[in-house]
């Protein structure tokens, strides 16, 4: 299955990309996706400890199971206002 991963702020700059289409085994969790991403893009390791994840625009836990077509977002510490 495929999911779309979006990046913002510092990790977006570090990675040099706004989004990635990631192929995953069916039934993968957010944690498995993050492990795969940091393996393929080690630059993400320096941000991963602080990143929150959203799945389809809702904050989500690492155990959340992903589905075909899901939109996953890597959210560094926010700074609005």
């Amino acid at each position: 299955m495929k999911v779309r991963v979006r990046f913002f702020g510092a990790p977006r700059e570090g990675l040099g990309r706004r989004e990635i289409e990631q192929e995953l085994p069916p039934g993968s969790t957010v944690r498995e996706l993050m492990n795969l991403l940091t393996e393929e893009h080690p630059v993400l390791l320096s941000y991963s400890r602080l990143i929150n994840i959203a799945v389809n625009r809702k904050y989500a836990a690492l155990e959340t199971e992903l589905h075909e077509g899901d939109e996953v977002a890597c959210l560094p510490p926010v700074g609005g206002g």
């Binding site: 702020g9 510092a10 926010v78 700074g79 206002g81």
Partner: protein, 143 residues
């Protein structure tokens, strides 16, 4: 403007007008409106800021702003309407980054509610700000 078309929670690249955001709350039942206006400050920790660059996950940010509005109305029953509009892109010193406006029949509670709104916004809304100084830049978080 048609009542249905008023957008109360918005991420925009347009310049913000406090009057325009307050106008989104227009209602003859209102007796008090409070507006919090966030402005780009020219220095942080003694360093001179040249400008700020705001970025958002806009689709989610608008939903989370709406969630903050729902939280406020659950907590303070007298609050009638809420509008939160946040600007994105490059902002110069003195420009308005965010306007939070709340209305109620009477003035009680609007102060607490607006304080809650800006604190919550800084905690949970997916918006990021990069401070650009004369000698560098950094993504900042108050969360």
């Amino acid at each position: 403007m048609d009542k249905e078309s008023v957008k109360l929670f918005e991420i925009t690249t347009e310049k913000l007008s406090v009057d325009e955001v307050v106008g989104r709350l227009a209602d003859p039942a209102s007796g008090a409106v409070i507006a919090f206006v966030g402005v780009v400050r020219g220095n942080t920790d003694g360093r001179e800021v040249r400008y700020l660059e705001y970025e958002a996950y806009p689709e989610m940010a608008e939903e989370v702003l709406q969630q903050i509005g729902d939280e406020i109305q659950a907590r303070w029953k007298t609050i009638q309407k809420i509008s939160i509009v946040h600007r994105m892109g490059r902002l110069q010193i003195g420009e308005v980054s965010v306007v939070i406006a709340l209305s109620a029949g009477h003035r009680q509670q609007v102060f607490d509610a607006v304080h809650y709104a800006i604190d919550r916004l800084k905690q949970i809304v997916p918006i990021w700000k990069k401070e650009v100084w004369t000698d560098g830049a950094e993504w900042r978080s108050d969360a």
